[in-house]
């Protein structure tokens, strides 16, 4: 379109923009709510994903169960246990496994600094860290392969264990005594959101090399095997092969659903992810409806503008304006009005989101604020917003514009 014509339109628009003030506010309000709802919705699912991976990412967890089927003359109701050599056995036979780690645990008294507390003590290997998001705070580390190989007396502790025993002191390098054997703390777990667990949150746990754990605890079997597949889509296949292999080795019917208990976070995450996506879409629609109120206001305003400008439209038609020119002018004015309101909505939403993100999260008492305080202003949010606004500009502008372009020039000119 011609630039001079554009300037012409904008001059005409500027003379009457005061009329648009209330509607500008409605658009501001609508775009603010749409953006905030989208950002909080997205933040919620993101936080959910983080806290879900607080337990572990793409994880299959296997523990022993009780048989419910006969197997080679053996009765039902037998207890099935897992053993340390199952780890090597499965690793060698299932190449789809990326990481595998054993875990055993028991409650033991732990003392340090003349304080004594009871905590769950776990024995595991280095791979556990990657699967169960055990990220150490600065200056510490998780158990490594050498610790496990040599049965070193070292411990990795949750952050709450650290404060319970040492207060504000740095626990790394300090001694703790578990079942009368001294261990050196080598790392403290970094704070994280965690929404699923089986022995309380990781903040309260203590991890030892598996080889050291067997020295304080006489239990022969292991409580759980953690497996991470090479690709998430391999997880059903791995589950099936674990059942077959362990059935043969530990003697149970592989189709017996109760012989092993398998917890697959991948499948769970998929379901929960879909629910959160649903919530996001719902919030987006709510926001769009709010903006729709503003859009209806714009349509009304444009119809009023047609009445007011009947004569001008007639003059333009007499001078040879085609329908397209009239339509363009009305659509552009609709766009101007929208731009003003939505621009300030955008700026305000951006700042609110930014400020909310500065509020710290309390990781100890796990509450709803962990989900609410991290709204995300993503590029995706912005694009969705633009698409919604664009659509609304079009539908709220096109009807008045077409009506204006269909005026009869003579009727418009007779208007006094």
């Amino acid at each position: 379109m011609n630039l001079t014509l554009l300037r012409f339109f904008s001059n005409e628009f500027r003379k009457r923009r005061k009329k648009a003030a209330l509607i500008t506010f409605a658009l501001f309000w609508g775009s603010l709510s749409i953006l905030l709802l989208l950002a909080f919705g997205q933040g919620m699912s993101a936080q959910f994903r983080i806290s879900f991976s607080g337990l572990g990412q793409d994880l299959i967890m296997i523990s022993g169960g009780q048989t419910s089927k006969l197997y080679q003359g053996l009765p039902k109701g037998r207890r099935i246990r897992l053993y340390p050599d199952d780890i090597q056995y499965l690793k060698e036979r299932i190449p789809e496994i990326s990481l595998i780690a054993p875990e055993s645990y028991n409650n033991w008294p732990v003392s340090a600094n003349r304080k004594e507390i009871n905590r769950t003590i776990h024995g595991t290997t280095a791979e556990f860290a990657h699967m169960r998001t055990q990220i150490p705070q600065m200056g510490g580390r998780f158990l490594n392969t050498a610790d496990v190989k040599n049965g070193r007396k070292v411990a990795f502790i949750g952050w709450k264990v650290g404060t319970d025993l040492f207060g504000t002191e740095n626990p790394v390098g300090q001694k703790i005594v578990i079942n009368r054997i001294p261990f050196t703390v080598i790392g403290v777990l970094k704070k994280k959101l965690q929404d699923s667990m089986y022995q309380g949150p990781d903040a309260d746990q203590i991890y030892l090399p598996y080889s050291a754990f067997t020295q304080i605890d006489s239990q022969l079997h292991i409580d759980r095997i953690h497996i991470q597949p090479r690709e998430t889509k391999l997880s059903p296949l791995i589950e099936e092969r674990v059942e077959t292999l362990l059935g043969k080795k530990n003697r149970f019917d592989p189709t017996d659903r109760y012989a092993l208990s398998i917890w697959n976070t991948i499948e769970n995450a998929k379901e929960a992810g879909a629910i959160f996506k649903g919530i996001e879409v719902f919030l987006g629609i709510m926001g769009a409806l709010t903006l729709l109120i503003g859009a209806v206001g714009v349509t009304n305003l444009m119809y009023a503008i047609i009445r007011e400008r009947k004569q001008e439209i007639g003059i333009k038609m007499a001078l040879g304006a085609k329908r397209r020119v009239i339509i363009q002018q009305f659509i552009l004015e609709t766009l101007f009005i929208f731009l003003k309101g939505t621009f300030w909505g955008l700026v305000t939403a951006f700042n609110i989101i930014h400020l909310v993100r500065l509020v710290p999260i309390n990781y100890d008492g796990f509450g709803i604020e962990g989900y609410l305080l991290r709204p995300v202003f993503s590029f995706e949010t912005f694009i969705i917003f633009l698409v919604i606004v664009g659509t609304l500009v079009f539908i709220s502008g096109i009807f008045p514009a077409v009506r204006a372009s269909r005026l009869n020039p003579i009727d418009s000119l007779r208007y006094e």
């Binding site: 001008e312 007639g314 003059i315 040879g320 304006a321 085609k322 003579i410």
Partner: protein, 220 residues
């Protein structure tokens, strides 16, 4: 150039209908200066609007340069108004928010003339009507006579062959009125076809031919 064959225009208002033109047949050749006269309500404006393709007849045929205008689309008619017709109205009909310059520029914007040609043409036209100094003024800052001269300049923007002036002096004092008629005569001498409505016999005397309308019919 213009040929009317039994043109009728009927206005419907609710249950009533009013015959503003009841079968007018006429011809106007290129380069003529014609005045349309008649009492108020006799259908002069209706006739002008149909000639200018601002309105369409209820019945009859209108040939413009030999082509039947009936059945043309809105945009085709818009193009005819833009290129072939220059309108001057009794109440000026300038755009209130645009300057004199911009008012004259508008018809050229609608036919896509480039910026340099526009500028040249507007300057030339403002000179011709003697208002170059007033180019940045809005209609409300101009006298009636000045406004009508700007309107005339605007009508000439795309150098249309036909000038339609519906009571151009109706809202002007006699001196300004005479100025406008003199401008129209000059245009006629340059070859434009002029069709003018007036109630004033003295002004009509500038033209070559007078069409008298009475009750929607040509009176002789």
């Amino acid at each position: 150039m213009i040929k009317f064959n039994k043109i009728k225009k009927i206005y419907h208002m609710g249950t009533q209908s009013l015959e503003a033109l009841s079968g007018v047949s006429l011809q106007i050749a290129a380069g003529e200066f014609v005045t349309v006269m008649g009492p108020s309500g006799s259908g002069k404006s209706t006739l002008m609007n149909i000639i200018g393709c601002l309105d369409t007849p209820t019945d009859g045929e209108y040939f413009l340069e030999g082509k039947n205008v009936a059945g043309l689309t809105f945009d085709q008619l818009a193009s005819i108004r833009n290129k072939m017709m220059g309108f001057v109205f009794q109440n000026f009909n300038l755009l209130p928010y645009a300057t004199a310059w911009e008012n004259i520029e508008l018809p050229m914007l609608f036919n896509g003339k480039n910026a340099r040609n526009r500028k040249e043409r507007i300057t030339e036209l403002l000179n011709e009507v003697g208002l170059l100094k007033w180019k940045e003024h809005r209609p409300s800052e101009l006298s009636g006579g000045q406004q009508q001269r700007i309107a005339l300049a605007r009508a000439l923007a795309n150098d249309p062959p036909i000038i339609l002036a519906d009571a151009p002096t109706g809202n002007l004092d006699s001196k300004s009125g005479v100025e406008i008629i003199e401008l129209l005569s000059r245009l006629w001498k340059k070859g434009h076809t002029i069709i003018m409505v007036t109630h004033d016999d003295r002004l009509a005397s500038h033209s070559q031919r007078i069409i008298h309308l009475f009750d929607g019919r040509e009176a002789d």
